[in-house]
C-alpha cells in the first residue's frame, strides 16, 4: 500500500504522520504537495494537522481550494481510504467530504493534552485493530475542535455508526455528542481531532494510536489479496 501525506502551506504535523508510517510502521509513504493535481499510484491519502494557510478565515477553509483537493474528492468518491487528523479533519469538513463543522473550543483556548476516548466503530479501514468500545488515550492539540452539526445530521451519524471515536469522561472542547472522530456515510473517509500519529512509540509515552495505521495497512493487504484473486 502506498500512502500520500498531503502537505499544505502551514501544515506542521506532516512530518509526524510521515514518521509514524515510515519509521514506525515501515510503510511506503510519500509527501504530496498541495500543488499536485493527481493522486494516481496512491492507495490511501492522509491530511496532516497544522495551520494550513494560518487558519485564517476559518480552519481549513482556504486549503480546500488547493490544486490537490479535486483529486482528493475523486479519491474519496472511489471509496479509497482518506484520513484527516486535526487540521486535516477541519479541511475534510470544509471540503464537504465529511458532514458538520469544527468550532472554536468552548474554553476559547488552544488545548494540548491527552484525553480518553472510546472506539465506537471498529468496522472502518482505520479502526479494525481496536476492540469494540475499547478505551484508549490519545493526545489532542487544537483550538477549534468542537464538533457541530444540526440535529438531523447528528441523528444520521449516530444511526449509521459514523461516529468512530467519542471523548470518554471529560469533553475537552464542547463537541456535540462527545464526537472526536467521524466517517462519511461510506466509511472510507475518517476525520478525527485527536492525533494518533503522536501516540505510536513507547519512548514518547503512548502507543494507543499505532493501530490506526496498522489497521489501514492491514486493510490494504486485504484489498490487494482480493485483487489478486
Amino acid at each position: 500500500m502506498k500512502i500520500a501525506v498531503v502537505v499544505f502551506p502551514g501544515s506542521n504535523c506532516d512530518v509526524d504522520l510521515f514518521e509514524a508510517l515510515h519509521t514506525v510502521c515501515q510503510a511506503d509513504v510519500e509527501y504530496v504537495s498541495h500543488k499536485e493535481k493527481s493522486l494516481e499510484s496512491f492507495d490511501a491519502v492522509m491530511l496532516p494537522g497544522g495551520f494550513s494557510y494560518g487558519d485564517y478565515l476559518r480552519c481549513g477553509a482556504i486549503a480546500r481550494f488547493s490544486n490537490i483537493m479535486p483529486a482528493i474528492v475523486e479519491f474519496a468518491k472511489q471509496g479509497k481510504p482518506v484520513f484527516g487528523t486535526c487540521n486535516g479533519f477541519q479541511i475534510l469538513t470544509e471540503a464537504g467530504l465529511l458532514p458538520g463543522a469544527l468550532k472554536q473550543n468552548n474554553s476559547l483556548k488552544f488545548v494540548c493534552k491527552t484525553v480518553d476516548l472510546t472506539v465506537e466503530n471498529t468496522k472502518t479501514p482505520f479502526t479494525s485493530q481496536y476492540g469494540e468500545k475499547e478505551q484508549i488515550s490519545l493526545p489532542i492539540a487544537h483550538a477549534d475542535g468542537s464538533y457541530y452539526a444540526d440535529q438531523e445530521t447528528l441523528a444520521k451519524l449516530e444511526e449509521n455508526h459514523q461516529i468512530v471515536f467519542r471523548y470518554a469522561g471529560e469533553n475537552p472542547n464542547g463537541s456535540l455528542n462527545d464526537i472526536a472522530g467521524i466517517t462519511n456515510e461510506a466509511g472510507n473517509v475518517l476525520g478525527m481531532m485527536p492525533h494518533p500519529e503522536r501516540a505510536v512509540e513507547a519512548l514518547l509515552g503512548n502507543e494507543d494510536g499505532l493501530r490506526v495505521f496498522k489497521s489501514l495497512l492491514e486493510s490494504g493487504k486485504n484489498t490487494i489479496e482480493e485483487a489478486a484473486f
Partner: protein, 744 residues
C-alpha cells in the same frame, strides 16, 4: 521625496531630535566630528540612533559581557551571530539562543510575546538549523492584580499563538510572580534548533558584486525605533512610543522558515550569508552583514517591497516589520533564489550589492540618502561603562541576622506553600502550548528540564530556562552563581551533560550605578560557575531599562541551558516510579531562607544575605550524580528549588500513584522549606543502593522509602505529619486556575 519635509543637517544639530531617539549630544558630536567629518543628514541620524542603541550595540553592557567565557572544545559558534552552535557529535550540532521581548509585551502583550517568539525562531533558522523546541521564562506581578492577569492571559496566548502555528513545540520554561514585575513583566523566549554541521551559516555579506536579497513580508511603518524603545525606561505618559509594537504573522514565518531551510540545506553554493531582520530592521541586518565580512554595501531602497505608500528612506530602513530575512547571494544565482522563494509563495528581491571598501551607501528616488562608513554604525560605537556602587540594602543586610521561619504547623505550611503561584502547577498555561508537535518530546512541561530525542540517533537533548531574581537582588554575585547552578541542576536531574548556555540579562537602568553594580557582580558570579561547569555562554541578549516609573525590577538574569543525553533511554524525570525504592537527599541543607518562597509567604517580602557557595564542590557533586544516572542506578531525580525539600518531595509524588515515608529526624521542620541550592531528591531501587552510596559518599543521605499508600509521610525533629498525595496535588493544581478566575 518623502511627504514630510525632513530636517536639514543643520536643523538636526540645532534642535537635537536625536536625543528623543536615544543618541546623546556627546555621541552626535563624536559621529559628526570624528567619524564623518560632517553633519549627518536626517536618515543617517536615524541610522546612528538605532545602531548605537544598547539593543544593537551593547555599548553599556559590553565591558561586563566580556567576563563570560565563550569557548569550549564543543563550541562551533560563540556570541556574535544569530545564535550559538555546539557540537553534539555525529556531525550534528545544537543551536540555541534566548531573547527578551519585555517592553513590547508590556505594551501589547499578545503581539509583544508572539513577535518575541517569531524573532528568536528566525535567529535559529538563520544559522541553517531546524528549530525543534521553544522555552519561555515569564515573570509577572502578583496574580491578585487584574492588569497582571490580563498580561498573563495575553502573553501566554501570544506565545502559544505563534509557536503552535509554526509547529515548534513549546516544551518548558518557568513562570514566577513578584510585585516588582507588575508594570514591567519579563517575557524571555528561548529557541533550540538542530543541524548538520555542514549546513552552518553566517550572517555576512562577502564578495564584491554579490546580491543583497530581501525575502519575506513587506515593509510597513510598524515598529520604527523599536530598538531605541527597548533601551528606554517606561513612563506612563509616552503614548506615542507605546504604538511601536509590531504584529506577527506566524503563517508567513512558517513559509519563510521552510524556504530558508531549503536554501541553507540544499543550495549552499548559492548562499553567502543570511541574517534575520530583527531589531532595527534592514539597517542592522545589512550593516552587520557587511561589517562581519569587511565589505561595503550599496542598497537601492526603491526595490524594498513596501506595504504602505510614500515611505521615506528613514522609515524603510528603521521599520521593524516582522518575518523578513536578508540574504547575500552569489552573483548569478538571483533567479534561482527568486524562484525557490516563489515556490513558497514568497517574494525575494535584489535590493543591492556588496561593494568594495567600507562605504554604506543608500539610494532612494535617484538620490544618495546615506553615505557613511559601515564601521561607523558597528565597530565605532562608544562603549559606555557606568559608575558602580554597592547598594545600601546589601551593606545593611550583611550586618543583620538572617531570618528563620517559625513553623507552627508544618503540614499546613506545606499546603499553603504548594498553593503559592510561583510553586503551584502552571499546567493551565502550558497546556495551551502544543508541546508535542514534531513527535520528539520525551518530557514536556512540568519536570526539571524538557527532554527531546534526536531522531535517527540514540541521543537526546535536555533543556531548561530558569532565573531567580530574588537571590540576585539580595546578593548579585551569589545569586548569579545560583542561577547557573540551578539551570545545570535541572539538566543533571534529567541525565544530561550540560553543554553551554544562553542568557537574557534583565536589569533596570544601567545609568544607575547600583544597577550597573548588580549587572557586573551577577555576571561575575555566573561566569565563575560557567567556567567550573564548562558551560560557556554561546549567545544571549541584554534587556536594560526594565523599570516602570523609576522602580526597577529585581535584577533577573535568565539562564537557558542545553544538555546532551548520551542514551535517550536513560533519561529521568522527577517522578518516583517504584515502591520500595530508597529515597536520598543529595547535598547538604543549610539555613538558607533569604529570598526563599517561605520567606516571601510568611513575611510578604524578601530580605537577608546569601550564604557563600563552594562552586567547585557543587560541581563535583553534580558530576558524580550525573555519573550515577548514566550508570542507570538512579530511578528518578528532582532538583530542589522554590519551596525546598518539602515541596520537592510532594512534586516527586504527583501523578506517581505512590507514597513516601520520609524520616528526617535530624532536621527541624523549618529546614523542610530551606532553599539551599544544589540539592536533589533521588530514588534508587534497593539493588542499586550500595553502588549509589559508594559513588555519592557523603553527598547523599538516605531519607526514606517509596510506599504504595499514596501518602506523603514526614517525620522530622520537632513534628510528624502526613498529607494525602491526591489532596496535595489538588491544592497544587487548582491554585493558579482559581486565582486567574478572580474578578477583582
Amino acid at each position: 521625496m518623502a511627504i514630510k519635509a525632513e530636517m536639514s543637517p543643520k536643523e538636526i544639530k540645532e534642535t537635537k531630535p536625536y536625543i528623543e531617539w536615544g543618541l546623546t549630544e556627546k555621541e552626535f558630536d563624536f559621529i559628526s566630528e570624528q567619524l564623518l567629518g560632517r553633519l549627518p543628514n536626517y536618515t543617517e541620524t536615524g541610522l546612528f540612533s538605532v545602531m548605537w542603541s544598547e539593543h544593537c550595540s551593547y555599548k553599556k553592557s559590553k565591558p561586563v559581557l566580556r567576563e563570560f567565557p565563550n569557548r569550549s572544545k564543543r563550541v562551533l559558534q560563540g556570541p556574535g551571530e544569530g545564535a550559538g552552535i555546539v557540537d553534539i557529535g555525529d556531525g550534528q550540532a545544537v543551536v540555541f539562543k534566548a531573547e527578551s521581548h519585555n517592553h513590547p509585551s508590556a505594551v501589547e502583550p499578545y503581539e509583544g510575546a508572539a513577535t518575541g517568539v517569531g524573532g528568536i525562531i528566525r535567529d535559529i533558522f538563520s544559522m541553517g538549523a531546524r528549530p525543534i523546541a521553544m522555552l519561555d521564562s515569564l515573570h509577572f506581578g502578583e496574580v491578585d492584580n487584574a492588569h497582571t492577569r490580563y498580561l498573563i492571559n495575553e502573553v501566554v496566548a501570544g506565545i502559544g499563538g505563534y509557536g503552535n502555528c509554526m509547529g515548534i513545540p513549546t516544551v518548558g520554561g518557568e513562570t514566577t510572580f513578584d510585585e516588582c514585575y507588575t508594570g514591567n513583566p519579563l517575557v524571555n523566549a528561548m529557541c533550540v534548533g538542530i543541524m548538520d554541521q555542514n549546513d552552518m551559516q553566517k550572517g555576512r555579506a562577502k564578495g564584491v558584486g554579490n546580491a543583497v536579497m530581501y525575502v519575506g513580508a513587506k515593509t510597513g511603518r510598524d515598529g520604527i525605533h523599536g530598538a531605541t524603545f527597548a533601551s528606554a525606561d517606561f513612563a506612563d505618559d509616552k503614548e506615542t512610543q507605546r504604538s511601536a509594537v509590531q504584529v506577527g504573522d506566524p503563517f508567513m514565518e512558517k513559509l519563510l522558515m521552510e524556504a530558508c531551510l531549503e536554501l541553507t540545506g540544499q543550495h549552499k553554493d548559492w548562499l553567502v550569508g543570511i541574517q534575520d531582520m530583527g531589531a532595527a530592521g534592514i539597517v542592522s541586518s545589512s550593516c552587520e552583514m557587511a561589517s562581519k565580512a569587511g565589505s561595503g554595501m550599496e542598497l537601492i531602497l526603491d526595490y524594498v517591497p513596501q506595504r504602505e505608500p510614500e515611505m521615506s528612506a528613514y522609515e524603510i530602513m528603521l521599520s521593524e516589520s516582522q518575518e523578513r530575512m536578508l540574504l547575500c547571494i552569489r552573483a548569478g544565482f538571483e533567479e534561482e533564489v527568486r524562484s525557490l522563494f516563489k515556490d513558497y509563495g514568497l517574494e525575494a528581491v535584489v535590493i543591492g550589492r556588496v561593494t568594495e571598501g567600507n562605504d554604506y551607501v543608500l539610494k532612494h528616488k535617484g538620490e544618495i540618502v546615506t553615505n557613511i562608513p559601515v564601521s561607523s554604525l558597528t565597530e565605532d560605537v562608544l562603549e559606555e561603562p557606568s559608575e558602580e556602587t554597592n547598594p545600601e540594602r546589601i551593606s545593611v543586610s550583611e550586618k543583620l541576622n538572617n531570618w528563620v521561619p517559625d513553623i507552627l504547623d508544618a503540614r499546613e505550611t506545606l499546603g499553603k506553600m504548594l498553593a503559592q503561584p510561583t510553586v503551584a502547577s502552571k499546567k493551565i498555561f502550558t497546556q495551551t502550548y502544543d508541546s508535542q508537535v514534531r513527535t520528539s518530546t520525551v518530557v514536556g512541561p512540568g519536570s526539571d528540564a524538557a527532554v527531546l530525542r534526536i531522531r535517527g540517533t540514540k541521543k537526546g537533548l535536555a533543556m531548561t530556562s530558569d532565573g531567580n531574581g530574588r537571590f540576585v537582588y539580595l546578593n548579585p554575585l551569589i545569586g548569579g552563581q545560583i542561577a547557573v547552578l540551578e539551570a545545570a541542576a535541572n539538566l543533571i536531574a534529567s541525565g544530561a551533560l550540560p553543554l553551554a548556555m544562553t542568557d537574557c540579562l534583565n536589569y533596570g537602568d544601567p545609568n544607575d550605578p547600583e544597577i550597573y553594580w548588580e549587572l557586573h557582580k551577577s555576571v561575575l558570579g555566573m561566569s565563575e560557575v560557567c567556567r567550573v561547569l564548562n558551560t560557556p555562554v554561546i549567545s544571549g541578549n541584554v534587556s536594560l531599562y526594565n523599570e516602570n516609573n523609576g522602580e526597577a525590577i529585581y535584577p533577573t538574569p535568565m539562564v537557558g541551558m542545553v544538555g546532551l543525553i548520551k542514551n535517550i533511554n536513560g533519561y529521568l524525570t522527577n517522578t518516583f516510579r517504584k515502591s520500595g525504592a530508597k529515597v536520598f537527599l543529595v547535598g547538604e541543607t543549610f539555613a538558607d531562607f533569604a529570598g526563599s518562597e517561605i520567606q516571601k509567604m510568611m513575611t510578604g517580602k524578601i530580605s537577608g544575605n546569601l550564604r557563600s557557595i563552594n562552586v567547585n564542590s557543587e560541581s563535583e557533586k553534580f558530576f558524580k550524580l550525573l555519573k550515577a544516572i548514566e550508570l542507570g542506578i538512579v530511578d528518578s531525580a528532582h532538583d530542589l528549588s522554590e519551596g525546598g525539600l518539602a515541596v520537592g518531595l510532594a512534586e516527586s509524588l504527583f501523578s506517581s500513584g505512590l507514597g513516601l515515608k520520609a524520616n528526617l529526624t535530624t532536621m527541624s521542620s523549618a529546614f523542610l522549606f530551606s532553599e539551599t541550592p544544589g540539592r536533589f531528591v533521588v530514588s534508587v531501587v534497593p539493588e542499586n543502593v550500595e553502588n549509589f552510596i559508594e559513588l555519592m559518599k557523603d553527598d547523599c543521605t538516605e531519607i526514606g522509602e517509596v510506599t504504595t499508600n499514596r501518602k506523603l509521610q514526614i517525620k522530622c525533629q520537632d513534628t510528624e505529619f502526613d498529607f494525602s498525595v491526591e489532596e496535595a496535588q489538588k491544592v497544587w493544581e487548582e491554585a493558579i486556575p482559581c486565582l486567574m478566575k478572580s474578578k477583582d
